[in-house]
Every structure is written in structure tokens, then in C-alpha cells.
């Protein structure tokens, strides 16, 4: 009777109430999605809610539905993992013995086929009757079944993520350093040999000039090492920027779609892309200036000997040294 009077006389619009609930659910979904995005990027544990699929099984699966207070466990009243009781047994029994009738009973029980088949005529009438006298109360399991069919039930899994910690970015730095430093070492070794051979060739191995040139080599080596450290840090920081941009993109997608599971999947995909090894060009020769310097000086010296250079006698034709200059 109360439903009757409410529906006929006391019926006020419920658009605002419905929209308010919908907005609360949307915000709770965004909060859940943000919690998961933050856990993925910053590390931590967050529940992941996935739309329930694969068959309605209230005895083995705990379902969650989205309410104005967030995702809440849906109490079907039959969830008891490990229990030997299976309410689907009756359906399985009838479906197995009498496939046609069993299937029909199962459909009616689920409120799918049976209701659909009978609603051609009685649906319109029942809607009118329901609107006046109210609908019959559903059991929790029937409500769960209906929500499941409507795609409103979720399953939950707590997931723990490592996140992009400082150690991750430090590893990125080390990756570049490990890549570049051996190349620099080889370049240094080659340049060092050239310098020493050239100095030895000119008899300056143990001289002040030789020490100065070796000092130049060492300082160039120091600059090259610091450049490698800076490049490694710059690449790490660029990665940090990209990851932050990816996080922002995932959040924007969360707002746009209102579907955290889709946005979170995008976040996971994006984060896995950042962890792929990149290809780097070979390290440029850090000692090219020194090598050129000594190569050029060697050529110049061969034509213009410096101070202290004793020119060979033009009459000495044994020719151990080139017969140029000294005139």
C-alpha cells in the first residue's frame, strides 16, 4: 500500500538522487584508479578490480559492486569457499537429466530466457503492475545474478607493485655508464699509446714536455668521465620526465574513460616500454683533439724540427733520418 500511494501520489522525480549516486560511483572509481596508478608508478599495494566474467559462481567467487562509498563486497549470502554445498547443483542436475527442461528452468532461474520469453505479452502488463504496486523483493543471490548479467559485478585482486624508485633511475644511469666507460677506456689507451710512442720517438718520454702532454691526456680523460656521468644522469632524468608524463597520461585517460582498469592497463604497458633496453650510438672519440694534436705535430716536426734538433749532415748519406730540413 505504501508503494501504491508513493507511486501514484507521492511520486517525486529521482533524477538528482540517481545522478548523485552515479557521480559518487564515478568519483569512487576514479579514486580506485588513482590508487592503482600511484601504486604502479610509486610502488605499493592496491586492489585491482576487474569486471567479473566467466560465469556467475557466488560460492567460489567473491564479487564486488561499485557503490557511493567505493567498491564493496556484494553479499550474495552463498559465498563460502571450500563448502561442499553448491546451489547450482539443482540446475546442473536438471540440466543433465532433462537438458531441455533443465535448461529452461535454469534460464527462468537466472531470469534471462524465461523472463525474456514471457515478457512479450506479460512484460508490459507486469511493468505497469510493478510501477503501481512495486516489484517483488529479490533474494541477494538473485540480485547478484542480475547485477552480474548487467556487467556490474567485479572481482578483486590485491596487487603489489615495485614502482619507479630512485634505484630504478640509478640503474638507468649505471646502464649508460657501463656502456660508455669501456669505450672511453679503449680510446684512452689508444691515445696514451700514441702520446707515449710519439714522445719516445722524439726522445721526450721522461721530459717536462712529456709530463705536460701526459697531464693533458689525464685531464681530458677526467672531463670525458664527467661527461659520461652527466650524460648518464641526463638520460636518467629524461626517463623520469617521460615516466611522469606517462603517469599524467594514464590519469587523464582515467578521467576521460571513467574506467580505471583500461587506464591502468595503459599505465602498465607504458611502464614496460620504459624498461626496455635502448640502443645507443657508440661513444665519440674523446681524445680526437689530443690524437690530432700529436699526429699534426708529428707531421709538422718532420718538416720543421724544433729547438735542439741536430740537423743531419748533408753529407751524411746513410739516411737514418729523412733528408729534409736543417738547412
Amino acid at each position: 500500500m505504501a508503494t501504491f500511494t508513493t507511486n501514484l501520489l507521492g511520486g517525486t522525480p529521482k533524477y538528482g538522487k540517481a545522478a548523485t549516486l552515479n557521480e559518487k560511483q564515478r568519483q569512487q572509481m576514479i579514486n580506485a584508479g588513482l590508487a592503482q596508478i600511484n601504486a604502479i608508478y610509486g610502488g605499493g599495494t592496491a586492489p585491482q578490480y576487474t569486471l567479473a566474467t566467466g560465469g556467475f559462481s557466488p560460492t567460489t567467487t567473491r564479487y564486488y559492486n561499485l557503490t557511493g562509498k567505493g567498491f564493496q563486497p556484494f553479499r550474495t549470502g552463498t559465498y563460502s569457499p571450500g563448502s561442499s554445498f553448491n546451489p547450482n547443483f539443482a540446475n546442473a542436475f536438471t540440466a543433465g537429466l532433462m537438458p531441455g527442461l533443465g535448461g529452461a528452468i535454469a534460464n527462468i532461474g537466472r531470469g534471462e530466457g524465461g523472463a525474456a520469453a514471457m515478457s512479450i505479452f506479460s512484460g508490459g502488463v507486469s511493468d505497469i503492475v510493478d510501477s503501481i504496486f512495486g516489484k517483488k523483493e529479490l533474494t541477494p543471490q538473485e540480485r547478484a545474478q542480475r547485477l552480474y548479467n548487467q556487467g556490474k559485478l567485479f572481482t578483486m585482486e590485491n596487487k603489489t607493485y615495485e614502482g619507479f624508485q630512485p634505484s630504478f633511475y640509478k640503474a638507468r644511469e649505471n646502464a649508460y655508464t657501463n656502456f660508455a666507460l669501456p669505450q672511453l677506456s679503449k680510446q684512452y689507451l689508444d691515445a696514451s699509446k700514441q702520446v707515449n710512442y710519439n714522445l719516445a720517438n722524439r726522445g721526450l718520454l721522461d721530459s717536462t714536455a712529456g709530463n705536460l702532454q701526459r697531464s693533458d691526456l689525464e685531464r681530458t680523460m677526467g672531463q670525458a668521465k664527467q661527461s659520461i656521468a652527466d650524460t648518464a644522469l641526463a638520460q636518467s632524468q629524461e626517463l623520469q620526465r617521460e615516466i611522469e608524463a606517462s603517469r599524467q597520461a594514464a590519469i587523464a585517460q582515467l578521467y576521460q574513460t571513467g574506467d580505471p582498469s583500461q587506464a591502468v592497463q595503459s599505465a602498465i604497458t607504458a611502464s614496460s616500454q620504459f624498461q626496455r633496453p635502448s640502443s645507443f650510438p657508440a661513444l665519440a672519440n674523446a681524445f680526437s683533439n689530443i690524437a690530432n694534436q700529436y699526429y699534426t705535430s708529428q707531421l709538422i716536426n718532420s718538416y720543421h724540427p724544433g729547438y735542439g734538433y741536430s740537423a743531419p749532415s748533408p753529407y751524411n748519406l746513410t739516411g737514418a733520418l729523412p733528408d729534409v730540413g736543417g738547412y
Binding site: G10, A18, D230
Partner: protein
């Protein structure tokens, strides 16, 4: 004044009163919904302000200097680490930095780190700005969501007393019907309702009236009746 007129007047007044009450209640409900929306938006505004405040303080020079120092220290540590890493070659003649070269390396590293630290601080500031923006975007998003709901809540409030309004209308119309009935009863009867049968064309009990219409008074010998 008859009884019907009195009842009609009372019913009409009651119906009007109920409609006035309904309108007033609906208005109060609308006021309440509006106040709720203001409170909700104010709460979000306060949340946004409390996020904006510390984030803006983070951009100040005090924090910037601290970030510069941290960045420089981090870079110097990097330089020391890479300097101490063994190289993959065998020693050749007089290889390796002497004390002067090492001092030059350290000095160059300090200056280089101090310069590069601006990049580090800038990155921290950039990330802070992005995260602050994300938090503000969330609040803005929620605020927009509530703003979308608000007109519907106002509509509900506006129509929250429709039932009372309808009942008042019904009661008022009953009053109008009573008044009409009373008005009908109170009207003076100026004429009697009469009914006359159709006159037969011929009445054989009367003299022949046909002659009355004999303009020539012919041979029938009729007399004027």
C-alpha cells in the same frame, strides 16, 4: 449562504493553502539543495587551496637552493664514483693521474656539478608542478561532476512537493465544484420549465378549420369559427 457554498469556500481555501504550503516547502528544499551544493564546492575549493599552498611554497628560492645543493652533491658523488671505477686496460708507461691532475679533476667536478645542479632542481620543480596539477585536476574534475548533478537536484527539489500540490489542486477543485453547485442552487427560478405536445394538424372535434383559410369563402358554407 448555503451549506454547499460554505464547504466549497472552505475546500477552495484549503486547496489553495495546501498549494501555498507545497510551494513554500519546495522553495525551502531548493534552498537546501543550493546550500548543499555551495558547501560541497566550498569543501573542494578548500581542498584545492590546501594543495596549492605547499606546492607554491615548494617553488620558493629556499627550497630551490636546497635542491641545488642536493643536485650538486649528487653529481659530485657520481663523478667520484666514475673516477674510482677501474678501467679495462693494462697499465702502460706512466699512466694515471698525478696529484695535480686529481686536484684539477675535483675542482672541475665541483664547478661542473654546481652548474648541472640547476637542471636537477628544474626537474624536481617540473615534477612537483605536474603532480600538483594532477591533484588539482582531480578536484576540478569532481567539482565539475557535482556541478553537472546540481541542476537535477534542483529539479528534484522543485518538484519535491508535487504530490501535495496535486492534492491541493484536487481539494481546490472540489471547492470550486461546491461553489458552482451552490451558485446553481442559489439562482432565482424566473420561468417554469414547460412542455407542450405537438399540435396535430387536424382536430376532428373542431369545426373544419380548413375553411378558415378559405380566402374566397366558397360553397362549403362554412362559418368563421
Amino acid at each position: 449562504m448555503s451549506g454547499a457554498a460554505g464547504y466549497g469556500m472552505i475546500a477552495g481555501a484549503a486547496g489553495g493553502f495546501m498549494q501555498a504550503i507545497a510551494a513554500r516547502l519546495a522553495q525551502m528544499k531548493m534552498d537546501q539543495v543550493y546550500q548543499q551544493e555551495l558547501d560541497r564546492q566550498a569543501k573542494l575549493r578548500n581542498q584545492a587551496y590546501s594543495i596549492w599552498g605547499p606546492a607554491t611554497e615548494y617553488r620558493g628560492v629556499e627550497n630551490y637552493n636546497r635542491q641545488l645543493a642536493e643536485g650538486a652533491a649528487n653529481r659530485e658523488m657520481n663523478y667520484q664514483q666514475i673516477e674510482s671505477r677501474p678501467l679495462s686496460f693494462q697499465n702502460t708507461y706512466k699512466q694515471g693521474a698525478n696529484a695535480v691532475d686529481q686536484a684539477a679533476y675535483n675542482m672541475m667536478g665541483q664547478r661542473r656539478a654546481a652548474l648541472g645542479a640547476y637542471n636537477d632542481a628544474q626537474l624536481m620543480q617540473q615534477i612537483n608542478a605536474i603532480r600538483t596539477q594532477n591533484e588539482l585536476n582531480k578536484i576540478s574534475n569532481f567539482s565539475q561532476g557535482w556541478a553537472r548533478v546540481f541542476p537535477l537536484n534542483m529539479y528534484d527539489a522543485q518538484h519535491s512537493q508535487d504530490a501535495l500540490q496535486a492534492i491541493g489542486g484536487i481539494v481546490g477543485s472540489l471547492g470550486g465544484a461546491g461553489a458552482n453547485f451552490a451558485q446553481l442552487n442559489a439562482m432565482p427560478q424566473t420561468q417554469q420549465a414547460s412542455w407542450s405536445p405537438v399540435q396535430p394538424m387536424w382536430d376532428y372535434s373542431q369545426p373544419d378549420r380548413y375553411s378558415q383559410y378559405d380566402p374566397y369563402n366558397t360553397t362549403y358554407g362554412g362559418q368563421l369559427g
